[in-house]
């Protein structure tokens, strides 16, 4: 009799317990749904508006099947005076195409009028900043580029082989979007040049870039970028490159207007070969215009359809 009794008590308690749980669940339907949702991982998007911070790359990559046409200009220096209309007469251009092979792998090619440089690059997103379960504090993108300089040397005696004209750049781009307005980025950089202009110069250049953006409206932001170079500066040859710019976004376009002491628009140029001094007025006005074309359905959409 006692064993039946205790089983009965146990069962009763259990059922009562279950009943009280169900009772709790009825409180507020929306709160109940909140519980379901909180476990989802949330990736941070749009750390920067464009794939360029100003001169250099940002952690952003084009999404799968997006093709970006990028037109960049740097005019002459502001201190060239009225005769050159503060640099507007002298202009150099870089035209480039960048393509999203996947959301995380980008390929790009470009041609600069400055030194008639051809460049190709690979950009790979390694980490994405995220919130929620297993969050990640930063985004990390790796960047590598090859440049071939095709401008003939002014020295008729010079006999430059093809490999003498090659340059390599490697960067790690680390960024964090602190809030909707502020994003900061660090860019450790290595540049290798097969041939140097003078024997005393190093073939490998190490530099560290810092930069960031402050969004002051939904579609505009103020950007800053500075690269500190560890090699040539010591020998008094080059200058560190500073850039200050504004991003304006309008639908499929991103306009970037900037002031910088660099003339080149590729890494080996603006990091390793800038000679102008920003604070002496050797400032180039310039702009980047990017236009994005969607060449097919984005990967996520296709996935969503497959799930159905």
């Amino acid at each position: 009799m006692t064993s039946i009794n205790s089983k009965f008590i146990l069962l009763t308690l259990l059922i009562f317990f279950l009943g009280s749980i169900s009772l709790k669940a009825q409180d507020d339907l929306l709160k109940e749904l909140d519980k379901e949702q909180d476990t989802q991982k949330d990736f941070v998007s749009a750390t920067f508006k464009g794939t360029r911070l100003i001169n250099g790359h940002s952690v952003e990559t084009k999404k799968k099947k997006e093709l970006d046409f990028l037109i960049s200009h740097r005019f002459g220096t502001l201190n060239s005076g009225f005769d050159d209309l503060f640099g507007l007469d002298a202009s150099n251009i870089r035209l480039a195409l960048e393509y999203g092979v996947t959301d995380f792998i980008n390929l790009g090619v470009g041609r600069s009028s400055f030194e008639k440089n051809y460049d190709g690059f690979l950009k790979v997103r390694v980490l994405r900043q995220s919130q929620g379960a297993k969050s990640m504090p930063i985004s990390l993108t790796a960047f590598a580029s090859v440049v071939i300089k095709t401008l003939k040397s002014t020295d008729p005696e010079a006999d430059e082989s093809f490999s003498d004209r090659m340059f390599y750049s490697y960067q790690l781009l680390l960024a964090r979007k602190f809030n909707e307005r502020l994003s900061l980025q660090l860019m450790p950089t290595l540049i290798h040049r097969n041939q140097v202009p003078a024997q005393t110069l190093d073939n490998d250049i190490f530099a560290l870039g810092v930069g960031g953006r402050f969004k002051f409206t939904k579609r505009m932001s103020l950007n800053l970028e500075y690269y500190y170079q560890f090699n040539d500066i010591i020998q008094g040859v080059n200058q560190n490159v500073l850039a200050i710019g504004i991003d304006i976004e309008t639908g499929g376009h991103v306009f970037q207007l900037q002031f910088t002491n660099a003339q080149a628009m590729i890494e080996k140029g603006f990091i390793a070969e800038t000679t102008g001094d920003f604070f002496e007025g050797d400032i180039h006005f310039g702009f980047n215009i990017s236009r994005t074309f969607q060449l097919g359905k984005s990967s996520k959409k296709t996935k969503a359809i497959n799930n159905e």
């Binding site: 669940a25 009825q26 309008t250």
Partner: protein, 186 residues
Amino acid sequence: MKKHAIFCLLYLISGFLHLTAQTQFITRNGKATFFSRAPLENIEASNQQVLSILDTQKGEIAVSMLMKAFKFEKALMEEHFNENYVESAKYPKASFKGVIKNLNAINFTKDGKYTANVQGEINIHGKSKLITTTGTVTIKEHKITIDSKFNLTVKDFEIKIPKLLIDNIAETVEVTLHLAYEPHKP
């Protein structure tokens, strides 16, 4: 025996509570789409992770979804949607909480199609609005499905469209919901 009587009573009460809980139904993969028809382009996005709970006894319904889960045809549209329009970082969710006004007209245990008149509060971009709409409740082999289609005016939720893009984005978007429920076991 006195003890037994008390336990029997408890048993009955808890059993009753348990039964009422069976009137809740949930979906975790409901579908919400919106469609914007503008002179320059049509924009369509869909969210396949819509959460919803339906209480068939009280006639209450709640819907909640993450704005970031909306997928667009163009990746850039998705970025602009989240960054510039609905501001997903600030307002991650859209939600609805309402009641079925004509609950008596719907028999959740009998197969058939019923029209539900729903009234409630919708919250998008941190702004709430009272709406009245209709939904089709389909009961088939004890499975409850709700379909609804209604229009929302972007301006009501203080989502601003720049003049420059007025030809790209419609001022009124058509929202479609498809919610297939399962019994909710808390």
